[in-house]
């Protein structure tokens, strides 16, 4: 008898100060664990990207956030691939030495990992990344020349044969900022993350291809008190290797039904921080999938499932979430695993318009 593959979506939104996953790919252990109890896991670059560090998992789908929202809404499907030729788009604002570092990282991914990269494209204008923080505490940002980014991506897709896009934009060096200091010590909100998401969202929205972003930054001076959660971003000169690895096997987006593609109706469960249930993917998938919310992964958001009318199983930790997924997959109600179980009661219909 064939069984439905158990499919989990794991979301840790970027740029909201998640205690786990708000730093340098520090939710990667979570997805590694979930990948052991699920047949398929769909997650996004913020979870999987650890700068120089990555962990490629055959049953994990690397799906950029805009594409994940479209998938959750049922508008796009995910088509597995064996490989994507990855196009590299570099911001014209990157200085020559920093640019060489990124090109060497790309060449290293070709030579050492065997990835297929196409010739790189440089934007025809500096992208002009600007960072902001919203009233909620979430970070966001803009680029002053989005058209230039899109022209470069179009060139990469149409003239080099790329089928996935890695963007490297020059981000502002703000080495003295309190936000950066806190981030390096494992506190606060990633000051870059919101703007990174905007860049990749724009590319995916426009071209419907996998995309992820790595910021180009001047290397920071040594900090002996660096948080382990942030340390992956201080191992080298670029954050590019994880992006190239993720994109090299990221599923393609499809908009017409096909037997091979994965659609929102295939999702069995979604795991998300308890305080961050206000995203499009959660709202949509909560209509059909089992929602598990993790309370100790605190964020700056204030949108719990009960406040939004979302039915969820609230657990304290990802360790508990793993148990919840195993039980759900096995068809075991969580109440059956607790010491007390109330007797069934006679059904009482709700009275509508009693007058």
């Amino acid at each position: 008898m064939s069984q439905r593959p158990y499919t989990v979506v794991l979301i840790v939104p970027t740029g909201i100060g998640a205690a786990i996953g708000g730093y340098a790919g520090d939710a990667l252990p979570v997805v590694r664990a979930i990948a052991q109890v699920a047949d398929r896991v769909i997650t996004h670059p913020n979870v999987l990207n650890g700068a120089q560090l990555y962990w490629s998992l055959p049953n994990v789908f690397y799906v950029e956030g805009y594409g994940l929202d479209q998938f959750a809404a049922g508008r796009w499907g995910l088509q597995s691939v064996h490989q994507n030729p990855v196009g590299l788009v570099l911001d014209q604002a990157i200085e020559p030495e920093l640019r060489s570092r990124h090109l060497q990282a790309a060449d290293a991914a070709r030579a050492t990992l065997g990835l297929h990269l196409t010739d790189y494209v440089t934007t025809d204008q500096p992208l002009g990344v600007e960072l902001q923080t919203a009233a909620s505490g979430a970070t966001w940002g803009t680029i002053r020349h989005p058209d230039s980014l899109l022209r470069a991506v179009e060139t990469s897709l149409t003239q080099t044969g790329a089928r996935a896009i890695a963007v490297v934009a020059r981000f502002p060096d703000d080495t003295e900022s309190e936000a950066l200091h806190n981030y390096r010590h494992g506190h606060g909100v990633d000051p870059l993350a919101g703007a990174e998401a905007i860049i990749s969202h724009l590319v995916v929205r426009t071209f419907q291809v996998p995309c992820a972003h790595a910021p180009a930054l001047t290397p920071l001076p040594l900090d002996p008190h660096l948080s382990p959660r942030s340390a992956a971003e201080e191992l080298g000169y670029t954050f590019l290797p994880c992006v190239l690895v993720g994109l090299s096997r990221a599923p393609q987006f499809v908009t017409t039904p096909s037997l091979e593609a994965l659609w929102a109706t295939h999702v069995d469960a979604i795991v998300v921080p308890d305080s961050a249930c206000g995203g499009s993917a959660v709202l949509n998938l909560s209509q059909s999938a089992h929602v598990v919310t993790v309370q100790n992964n605190q964020t700056r958001m204030k949108t719990t499932p009960d406040q939004l009318g979302i039915r969820s199983l609230r657990v304290n930790s990802y360790l508990e979430a793993l148990g919840a997924l195993v039980a759900h997959r096995a068809g075991i109600h969580p109440n059956a695993l607790s010491p007390t179980l109330s007797p069934l009661q006679p059904f009482t219909p709700l009275l509508i318009n009693p007058a």
Binding site: Y66, Q132, A134, L202, K302, T303, G309
Partner: protein
Amino acid sequence: MKGGASHGVLSEEELGIDVGMTLKFVSIDLPQMPPQQLEDSILQTLRDYGEPLRWAITGVDVAQHRVQIEAVVIVEADWMGRIGSQRVRMV
């Protein structure tokens, strides 16, 4: 077109003379409603000001039955004539 950004109107400088597309931050609040209706309501409201690119409900005012949403929208040149509601704060 002239106007202060705090009133939801973009200046020529903000739009960029040589650029047909601008990314803008938008903050709105809406009445609380069931989750299956919330997304449609959010998208419909945001589309008054541009094409929604990234958004999230960031807070819930339980007492007032309202939800706060932060978003980034794409403002194409041809959206200019349609911007102007006081309900939206752009920064």
